[in-house]
C-alpha cells in the first residue's frame, strides 16, 4: 500500500473503529438490558443466610494456595 492509499484509508478506518466501539458497547447493553433471573438473588440470599461462608469442596481445602 502506498502512503497516499494509506492516507486515503485513514479516515475510513477511524470511522470504522468508532463504529466498532459503538457496536461493542451496544452488544454489552443488549445483555445488560435483559432482566436478571431471580435465581441469582435467591442464591445470594441462601449464601447469606448460611453465613459464615460454606466450606469449600474437599479438593480446594487440600490445595489452599491454588485460588479458585
Amino acid at each position: 500500500m502506498t502512503e497516499d492509499e494509506r492516507n486515503a484509508k485513514a479516515p475510513f478506518d477511524r470511522e470504522l473503529q468508532a463504529h466498532l466501539g459503538q457496536q461493542l458497547r451496544r452488544l454489552f447493553n443488549e445483555t445488560a438490558a435483559q432482566p436478571i433471573p431471580d435465581r441469582f438473588a435467591a442464591l445470594l440470599e441462601r449464601l447469606d443466610r448460611a453465613a459464615p461462608a460454606p466450606p469449600l469442596p474437599a479438593e480446594s481445602l487440600t490445595r489452599p494456595q491454588e485460588a479458585f
Partner: protein, 188 residues
Amino acid sequence: MSETQPDPGFKSALLAEISQLRFFALSLSGQHDRADDLVQETLIKAWAAQHRFTPGSSLRAWLFTIMRNTFYSDYRKSRREAPDRDGESAARLFVNPEQNGHLDLDDLKAALAKLPEDQRVAVLLVGASGVSYEEAAQICGCALGTIKSRVNRARQKLMQHLAIESVAEFGGEFLAIGASDSAPGEAA
C-alpha cells in the same frame, strides 16, 4: 469470629455485578444457558473465597478472574467430552433463543464468532465490558502487551468484517472481487 462474618455489603456488591458477570460469561461460553450456570458457579466460589478479596481493589476484575478460571477448569473439560459440531456453538454466540437481539448487531456477532477465543475475550473485555487493559491482563493471566496485541488483532479483524458488510449494503462489486480470491473449486 467477627472477621469470618461476611461483609454485609458483599452481597449487594455481588448483585450489582451480575449484569457484568453474565456478559463476561457469554464472552467466554457463547451460550446463554451455559453462561448463567457459569455466573452461578462464580457467585458460589466468590462467596466462599470472599476473605481473599482485597478491599479497595476491583471486585469486577476479581470476579472475572474467578469466572475465567472456572470456565477453563470445568467447562472446557466438559466441552471436550461432548464436542459439538464444528462451529455450532460459535454460531450461537450471544444469540438468546428467547429474546431477539438487535438485528444490526448480527454482523458483529457473526464476526466475533469467527475470532480465536483469546482474541474475542480480550476485545470484549476492553471494548464492551469496559475493563482497563491492566485489569484484562490480570483477568486473563497474561502480560499487558499480550492483551494489547490480542485486542488489536481482534479489532482489525472485526473492522475488516464490518467494512465488508457495509460495502455489501451498497452493492455486490466488492463481493465479486472477494469471491475471486478463493481458489477455483473451493466454493461448495
